[in-house]
Symmetry: C2
Subunit: 156 residues, 2 copies
Amino acid sequence: MDIQKFMRRAIELASENVTKGLGGPFGAVIVRNGEIIGESGNRVTQLNDPTAHAEVSAIRLACERIGSFSLDNCVLFTSCEPCPMCLGAIYRARIPTVYYANDRHDAHRIGFSDQFIYEELEKPMEQRSIRMLQLLPDEARISFDLWEKSTQKIPY
Amino acid sequence: MDIQKFMRRAIELASENVTKGLGGPFGAVIVRNGEIIGESGNRVTQLNDPTAHAEVSAIRLACERIGSFSLDNCVLFTSCEPCPMCLGAIYRARIPTVYYANDRHDAHRIGFSDQFIYEELEKPMEQRSIRMLQLLPDEARISFDLWEKSTQKIPY
C-alpha cells in the first residue's frame, strides 16, 4: 500500500479545510484494499457538531458506504494524532492501524488542547473538571436486564 | 431541576431501545433550562454507525436544535457511565454536568467493555493494541501553519 499517498490526501484535506474556510486544519482518510472508502475534513463549525472531527466524520462516511459498523479490515490516515474522542471512535470502529502526521504537541502549539482531555479521562471521576454524579442506578439496571434476556438483540 | 425525571427518561429510552429492537440498552437526554433539547438511544446497529452511542447522538441532535457546537449551559443525563469516546465528546461539547445511572462495571457485566478502552488510552502509544505510526509530520505542519495565518478561521 502506498501509505505516503494516502497520508498526503489526509494532509491535503486538512489544508483545504483552512483555505476553503470549512473548519480546523484536520483531515482523515479511511482505506480498505488500497481504496479510499471515506474521507473528511473537520466539520465542527460548519455543521455545528462538536463530534464532527475529521476522524469521526470519515468513520461515519466509510461505515455508511460499506453498510457495516465495523472497519476491522481498514487503515486510518489522519493528519493529526487523534484526540480521546476520536481514538475512542477508532476502537469502536475496530480499526487496527492508524497513521498520523502532526502529533498532540504540535496541536497544542496551535491551540487545540487534546492533552487536557487525555489527562481528564485518566483522573478519578471526582477530580475531573466535569461534574459526574450517579443517579438511580437501581432503576437503570432494568434496561440491562432487558438486554440480557432479549432474544432479538444484535451484538456489537 | 427535577433530575430524577430526566434520568427516568434516559432509562426509558435505554429500555425501549431493547424492547423495540433498536440497539443496545443505552439512552441519553440533554437538558437546557429545564427542557429536553436532544435525546437518543444507542443507534450503532440501526444506522451502521459505530459512533452513534446514545450520548454522541443526543449531543448531535441538541447542537442541531440550538444551532451551536457548544452545550456549555446544558446537563447530560445518561443511563450508563459514558465510554471514552462519549466522554471525549462531552468535553468537546463543553457540557459541565453529567448524571449517569449504570456504571462501567455494570456495563462490563453485560458484555460492554469500556474499561478496556479506558486502559488503552492511558497506555503509551506503542503499547496499545492498535498500531499507531507517525508519517510525514513535516508535510503536515503546512496545514497548521495555514491555520495560524488564516484570517477567516472560526475558533472552536
